[in-house]
Symmetry: C2
Subunit: 313 residues, 2 copies
């Protein structure tokens, strides 16, 4: 499971940072990629990624500002070129469907696949299941409706100890699957087998929180609660906190405070204002680390692997 | 006066060729740039150009296919960042206004400047004057309405021979301007001065034709008539002429035939299909040159200077 930061800038693209897009590669099932936001030229950034637009089958839009969606029409069009590409599910705030339809219809683009739109209609929509993952969305605090996402991986079932079962005189049978699924079973001869004696505890799945543009808010903390990785905007330095507040953004320090309060394991800062020179970007990182040491500053092309959790034995 | 090819590909961007955009830099008045089409990531291509989006004050869209317009919303937004940027005039087929409005309104983008939309409502609209230039548009032959553009520069007035005027005993006066403007004048003493005796003939202005996607057609020839430079699509090789016809495009040879028939001085091929490898691109050029020797094949970043014409003395 890895995050690929395709664009880490804010507002307008710069030579160093393109506008926002983050890919989540689900390595359990390598064939699909999820995309969080899609600023202009996101498809171009995929030239250097190990996947192209046709591998993206879920798109999660945080909010409708141009630096997060202007790459969608092009990516959706290019995704149409290969044959037999499957449907694409697109989650986002109300208005995302109209935006996509207006751009595709306006350009008379006819896609070879179906887009299934899911617009969030409440501040805290019911979680959606996507294969082995549960995705929660929640409304943040931005100038326009902006959502954060929390992706929860299903637990990995614990290892079945076949040797112990064989020692009990049992050959492979559907009974083994029951034990592996955590169910205790009773044998025909009346013996009772406890799953816990034959199967290791399940390994908890990983949790990733990717938030849209926001001021510090309670929903951000809830989405990030205990996450293995929190991706949070850090548009401004602390000395520009007044701008962050006025434009409904966060400073690096504020992002770190969210990570600390949520007890996240790692914080990745992104969505950095183009006003900052490289030296000031070091300050961004330093300000956050003073509050939350395990912080990284994303850069375009950065790949971050989210390691599997150790079994909680 | 120079053309900067920002994107020279067709359909979808590739590593080598971005989707279509051509900038025309008017060196008589260096402060402004005209843009012909605006595929996705056109603003990114300007990182390496001697101008940014804020220098563009006229945009001419040939047609509404995505590879020609998906970069507009981002470019228009970024253009809004500097203070005091002037209005932008946007020419294009019907629907361009709705596309721009839908994308800007949908993303709640508020521009700091005005966009003046001019949609072509007839196949051969009346020419428009833009400062020292006359722009003619004409409908071509594509799957959707696609226009070609012909930019005609005003003639350069001929040089005034001050020495000859002084030899006649004349000091600088408004009379000199009259002569320079080509008017014969009569002096108070009754002497008649013929402008042609004191002023060189005017130097004809340059003519550039930039066409949208099209099959070969009469309008293309008319727009390109005697042009110093014709920019024509060459989506396909001759062996794919059936595809060119089916998809309302041209082959390199067909583009060259248009240039020959129009007696253009130079042909620049662009909008090359991503299906072709570099070696095949040499074929594209060869096929065109067999018909029209003075042909170039555009590449991303190519700059082409259109030299002033020699005086027709
Ligand atoms: Zn943003
Ligand atoms: Zn095209």
């Amino acid at each position: 499971m890895e995050l690929i930061f395709l664009g880490t800038g804010a507002g307008a693209p710069s030579r160093r940072r393109n506008v926002t897009a983050i890919a989540l590669r689900l390595t359990r099932d390598d064939s699909t990629v999820w995309l969080f936001d899609c600023g202009e030229a996101t498809q171009h950034r995929m030239f250097d990624a190990p996947f192209g637009p046709n591998r993206v089958d879920r798109v999660f839009i945080t909010h409708l500002h141009g630096d997060h969606i202007f790459g969608l029409p092009g990516l959706l069009s290019t995704r149409s070129f290969p044959e037999n590409v499957g449907p694409l599910r697109l989650y986002g705030p109300p208005g995302i469907r109209a935006f996509v339809r207006a751009t595709l219809d306006g350009s008379q683009t006819h896609l070879s696949y179906e887009i299934q739109f899911h617009e969030w209609t409440s501040p805290e929509p019911a979680p959606v299941r996507e294969g082995l993952y549960t995705v929660r969305a929640a409304l943040l605090d931005h100038a326009i409706p902006s959502y954060g996402y929390r992706v929860e991986e299903a637990p990995f079932p614990g290892r079945l100890h076949a040797d112990r079962l064989r020692a009990e005189g049992l050959q492979p049978s559907p009974l083994w699957s029951q034990l592996k699924a955590g169910e205790d079973v009773t044998l025909p001869d009346g013996r009772r087998l406890r799953a816990a004696d034959f199967v290791d505890p399940a390994e908890p799945g990983r949790v990733i929180a990717i938030l849209g543009d926001t001021r510090p808010c309670k929903a951000a903390v809830e989405l990030a609660r205990g996450a293995d990785c929190l991706v949070h905007e850090a548009t401004f330095l602390d000395r520009h906190a007044h701008l962050a507040s006025a434009f409904f953004h966060s400073t690096a320090r504020q992002a770190a405070e969210i990570a600390r309060e949520a007890e996240a394991k790692c914080l990745i800062l992104t969505h950095v204002s183009a006003r900052y020179e490289r030296a000031e970007e070091d300050e961004i990182l330093a300000e956050a680390r003073a509050v939350f040491p395990n912080t990284l500053l994303a850069h375009d092309g950065m790949v971050y692997e989210i390691a599997r959790r150790k079994r909680d034995v």
